[in-house]
Symmetry: C2
Subunit: 150 residues, 2 copies
């Protein structure tokens, strides 16, 4: 199974750790992973994994370029904590035409993000989380069960 | 060489990736590492390293408890991006009585942090960094050369 993960601006401290957690879960389940990342987020991921234990084998593309360079993927997962991220997830779903999941998170969970995403047929999970990754980790596990076993 | 690393509130996105980068450099140079961390920072580190490639062998203590539980260490390194972190670094230096280094960072580098730390005999490096870890990584490398080879 080929999964595309989208991460935008790394403002929330939970974003980079949660992304590594997700990559690790996907790789452990035998998925091929491609990451569409904002350049600052990519540098943070590389700093957080200097020996490339988690990044090894993961494909990368710039979040903007990825919209012009459609790949075949089975599923898309996006982290949504601001307007730009919500828009990227919706755009990727429309360009890639694959089953899409979003984790809406932040200090507060914005209902309009959930509504906008669900209106586009995107399966949405939400977690109030900014410093504490545990609520996001729980939702990522739930999402993976749904993605892989259904 | 036994090094104590202090990290406080993980507000800046660069903090957790930079901490993993530092732990990895210290371990690769044969140092024994103890981490004094705020509980949210510790959960983020664990999420960012689910297989414990980087955290394996690292000792942990709560940042507050560590001040009551003095260990023998050869050097202390602290990340300073707010008042609380500056105060922790100064307190640890006084309790542990070891050579102490601080990385002052943030969207802006606050001169008063550098002055307060240097007044206490703490060797200080500074980097303007919030999303982009590269300036901090450069300073960490410089600090390690000074710590290990001088």
């Amino acid at each position: 199974m080929r999964v595309l993960v989208i991460i935008g601006c790394p403002e929330p401290p939970v974003l980079v750790p949660s992304t590594i957690y997700l990559l690790n879960m996907l790789k452990n389940r035998g998925c091929e992973v491609i990451l569409s990342a904002n350049p600052a987020a990519l540098k943070l991921l590389e700093t957080a994994d200097p020996e490339r234990y988690y990044l090894k084998g993961v494909g990368f593309q710039d979040i903007e370029m990825g919209l012009k360079n459609r790949l075949e993927v089975d599923a898309i997962v996006g982290f949504a904590h601001n307007d730009a991220a919500v828009n990227y997830i919706i755009s990727y779903k429309s360009v890639y035409d694959a089953k899409t999941y979003a984790i809406v998170f932040g200090r507060e969970v914005k209902k309009e993000y959930i509504e906008d995403l669900e209106e586009e047929g995107i399966t949405t999970y939400s977690a109030r989380a900014f410093h504490n990754p545990i609520p996001i980790v729980a939702k990522l596990k739930e999402m993976l069960r749904e993605m892989i076993f259904k």
